[in-house]
Amino acid sequence: MQYHSPSSFNEAVAISNSSSGLVKYLAGGTDVLVQLKIGTKSPDHLIDIKNIPGVREISLRDDGGYTIGAAVSGAQLTDHKELSKKWPGLVEGMELVGSAQIQSRATLVGNLCNGSPAADSVPGMIAAGASVSILNSSGTKDVLVEDIPSGPGSTSLKNGELITAINLPKRNDYEGDAYLRFIPRTEMDIAVVGCAVNLSLENGFITTAKVVLGAVGPKVMLAHSAADCLVGTKLDDNILSRFSAKCSQIAKPISDKRGSAEFRKDIIGVIAQRAARKAYDRALGKY
């Protein structure tokens, strides 16, 4: 295995394009090094992007949104007070990934590129309407996060393409998001199911809603029909139980070592309902 530490994104992409064999980008390394250890993926070339200037920065754009560098760690996100206040659901999704040790290293982009349907930070990004900046040999492009996962362990990224940053839209008043997952322990588990909800309100009524379900299909999925249940409502108990049933209905989970399909279908509704309630309260400014 050859290790590269380029000092610019262009150099990183150039190395990738000129290298043969399995080429992987390295940011936090919390997935890549595990794959290396257990022997599931042994890259021939590893391109460490952490020494590229700006890659570990969070910046506020002129349009009021945030740009998060590809190697920004979970701990950096949590420590960013403004970002955490505006996008608590997105930040808590990332914060749920692994231990304090993992948080020092793991990144949103890494979690996304790993392609797991159970990735904790991805539902929050999709619910937020986030996009990624992708660099390839022909230039840069912006792609919605929801278009990146393509199946279990796979993404729509082409060979050599590099995500350089994540872009969050501007946050307005009376908006709120939340992410909740279900795990058997209190920490250190992979989500059995997860759900992110992002809401905008007007006079207490939900005007737009995004609902994203994790670990109940081959990839993290947008649940449009479930979100539709919420729009135009004030989230009373009837609505919540309809919403819950809808989430369970559209979930298409598999049975595996982390839970049976039946159990996942059961609890995705419960978790989604709790996440919706939390997002709604946040949009009202309750916490």
Partner: protein, 750 residues
């Protein structure tokens, strides 16, 4: 809150000094199994079966052996033939012969100049397998159409007509079973199941071994018992035991799992084949989970009769346990523990040891007792609920006490179950009020404890300080407890004692630190050895004073004349005696070798409070109490530590730990990510009550304390869950999916 029946003043025992190895262990200096290296050392790696059951038709390591840096490759062909009995099972488990019996079974091993080369070489070894049908579940394994794992596994005990996968059968009992059930106002029965759990020590197995062609060798190994390692390695390799010198490293947890061999003979054989170069093998976590430990899985039927006022009349159990492909589940111990806490007028026990395509079960903290407790203590709780009786009162009514004959035979000497039940009942945790979806569970547990073969020595240093040499590795503070007992025996400060753990050449045979025996057995032996030196010191002083040795006695570190008749002499300190040793007869040392008996049985009572999320089935442990009879707590902090650690292992077993197998018979969760041991945030504080009803057969009253604590959590939590949400789980683990299903359907998970 110690309850001390036999008031006796101790100066050091019962205090909480810093452990002697504390500095080493908080600074990273302590050397564990993987921490050593030697000049010229090679690194070993092991090729493991990817199939649950297969015939190995060929192994070709030509390509692997040509890799630059590969120094030796071994297969079963490098081990002696003609071995049988238990040694054959040990050898078969160490390295497969004709058959691979489980996913992870060792097939071949490589020694190379680096770890990376060794691993590459493993990948280059070509093995052809003929995949055979497998069986994983204990009940499936004895069905008529189950794949037969071995044709000649059964021993003499197995009744005609049993499944060929039954390795042994055990049956015993007492009293009139049917008559007892006839007298009962309520007879209740149930089937219970527990999944295999791994000991989960954080330190993976590691060893460094060196063996020459003349049959002399050395090993450095993390183990609970290096004499066991020596004996087992010698037997599977056909070596003379005394020619193998085994030094134990510090040990990063064991819980019974490090009392047998896995990689050690492979490292020795690799060393021999590479011309005597030292070879180090360190297991990965996945190897630990796939190929070592765990405990057995169990399927258990229990039937209990009771009068309406809560007196047991009769009980019967049939336990079926699989302990992997070689037999050896702790079914016998489980049967012994089943009704041990109670005066059961009639009791009948049947046990089956069953083969399955799983790794060979190793001991795990109170082997067998947790499963038995889950079955029996859950059913007793069901009875208490049905009859509306207080669960502690029912246990008090039936509790065994001094002079009672146990359900499995032995007569109890002084024991502390009643005191422990009373202490638990008096604790505030038993009366704190509970909220919605919260429930409280009670359960008792038992372990018979163990003494075993023990050798120790003590020697007086020239300045009057004392060296103690024991053969029981310090797995959780035993240096401190042994130093305390030594200090107490001599009447010298705790800090003047140094406890060493010796290699196999320095002492006679020692059983491992297992069976809750280190403090009990090494402590008792050290007491004897120290008294030998005390009597020697008294004799030397008597010679100096020119009086009869009987007229000299020992007190608080001094030899003193025994009363006015002995003469008027100033006491002589151990320091002075030591400084004069060379003039008075030379070095002063003592030793003691014995099979230690009089172990003192240990009972515990746990109270668990839980909250259950009725929508997801998730269980939160709100508070937890362990009350247990320690006999005498030598170092109370480490006694509490044993209670707490045992309880949390039991909590993990009850809630989320399990071996998950795929349809292919391969283990799917061979990582801490999915083999879910409890993490810090899963738990409340674990409250403890040390009950002290001294063991009459130990000089300081010690009972082993390590093991009992793992048994009660399984039923205590199941009982608490039932109290919280009316869901009776009869199958472990109580993972959220199972709990939710029980809440919704009433099915018990079996």
């Amino acid at each position: 809150m110690a309850k001390d029946e036999l008031a006796k003043d101790f100066k050091y025992i019962g205090t909480r000094p810093n452990r002697p190895d504390g500095y080493d262990k908080v600074t990273g200096r302590a050397k564990y199994g993987a921490d050593v290296a030697a000049v010229g050392m090679l690194h070993g790696a092991v090729l493991r079966s990817p199939y649950a059951h297969a015939r190995i038709t060929s192994i070709n390591f030509e390509k692997a052996s040509k890799l630059d840096g590969v120094k030796a490759i071994i297969t079963r062909d490098d081990f002696p033939v003609g071995i049988d009995g238990d040694t054959l099972n040990l050898l078969e488990n160490t390295i497969a012969g004709e058959f691979a019996y489980y996913d992870g079974h060792a097939i071949a091993a490589v020694a190379a100049t680096t770890v990376h080369i060794a691993k590459e070489a493993i990948n280059e070894i070509e093995v052809e397998y003929e995949v055979l049908p497998h069986v994983i579940d204990v009940d499936e394994a004895i069905k008529p159409d189950a794949p037969v794992i071995k044709n000649n596994a059964r021993d003499f005990s197995v009744p005609e007509g049993s499944s060929p996968n039954v390795a042994s059968y055990i049956e015993f009992g007492t009293g009139d079973i049917d008559g007892g059930f006839d007298k009962a106002d309520l007879v209740k029965s149930g089937r219970f199941k527990t999944e295999a759990a791994h000991q989960g020590y954080i330190e993976p197995h590691a060893c460094m071994a060196q063996l020459d062609h003349d049959g002399q060798g050395e090993m450095w190994v993390c183990t609970q018992g290096h004499w066991y390692i020596r004996q087992m390695c010698a037997s599977v390799l056909g070596l003379e035991a005394s020619k193998l010198c085994v030094t134990p490293s510090e040990i990063g947890g064991g819980f019974g799992g490090k009392t047998t061999i896995f990689i050690e003979p492979l490292a020795l054989a690799l060393s021999k084949k590479s011309g005597g170069r030292p070879v180090k093998i360190v297991m990965s976590r996945a190897e630990v989970l796939r190929a070592t430990g765990p405990t057995a899985s169990a399927s258990m039927d229990v039937k209990i009769g009771i009068t309406k006022d809560g007196y047991l009349t009769s009980g019967s159990v049939e336990f079926r346990m699989q302990g992997g492909a070689f037999g050896g589940s702790p079914v016998s111990e489980a049967l012994q523990c089943a009704f041990a806490p109670y005066n059961m007028p009639a009791a009948h026990h049947i046990g089956y040891d069953i083969l399955a395509n799983r790794p060979r079960a190793a001991a795990y903290r109170a082997p067998g007792s947790p499963m038995a407790a889950f079955a029996v203590e859950s059913l007793i709780d069901e009875i208490c609920t049905d009859l509306n009786l207080d669960p502690i009162d029912v246990r008090l009514k039936n509790a065994v006490k001094e002079g009672d004959k146990s359900s499995y035979g032995p007569k109890f000497k002084k024991i502390g179950l009643i005191e422990t039940l009373e202490a638990a009942k008096d604790h505030p945790n038993y009366s704190i009020s509970l909220g919605d979806n919260q429930g409280r569970g009670v359960a008792a547990g038992y372990w018979m404890n163990h003494g075993g073969e023990t050798s120790v020595s003590v020697s007086l240093a020239e300045d009057g300080s004392v060296n103690v040499t024991v053969g029981t590795p310090d797995i959780g503070g035993s240096r401190a407890s042994i130093a305390l007992m030594t200090a107490e025996t001599y009447g010298i400060p705790y800090d003047s004692v140094r406890v060493n753990i010796a290699e196999t050449g320095a002492l006679g045979f020692n059983e491992p630190t297992h069976g809750s025996r280190a403090t009990l057995a090494s402590g008792k032996a050290v007491y004897e050895a120290a008294n030998q030196t005390i009597s020697e010191m008294c004799q030397r002083v008597a010679r100096k004073w020119q009086i009869d040795p009987d007229a000299v006695f020992w007190e608080n570190g001094y030899a003193k004349p025994a009363g006015a008749n002995a003469g008027d002499f100033s006491p002589i300190s151990i320091k002075q005696i030591a400084s004069e040793m060379d003039q008075t007869g030379g070095p002063i040392a003592g030793h003691h070798e014995a099979s230690i008996r009089g172990v003192g049985h240990s009972f515990g009572v746990h109270i668990a409070d839980v909250e259950v999320d009725p929508e997801t089935g998730r269980i939160t442990v709100l508070r937890y109490l362990v009350a247990q009879d320690a006999g005498r707590a030598i170092h109370p902090s480490y006694v509490e530590g044993q209670f707490q650690g045992g309880a949390v292992q039991g909590i993990g077993w009850a809630l989320n730990e399990e071996y998950v197998y795929g349809a292919d018979g391969c283990l799917q969760n061979a990582a801490f990510l999915d083999y879910r041991v409890p993490v810090a945030s899963d738990l409340p504080n674990i409250d403890t009550i040390i009950v002290e009803v001294p063991n009459p057969d130990h000089p300081f009253g010690v009972r082993g304390v390590g093991e009992t604590g793992i048994a009660p959590p399984l039923p205590a939590l199941a009982n608490a869950v039932n109290a919280a949400v009316g869901a009776r789980l009869r199958s472990l683990p109580m993972s959220p999916g199972k709990v939710l299903k029980t809440i919704k359907t009433g099915e018990d998970g079996c």
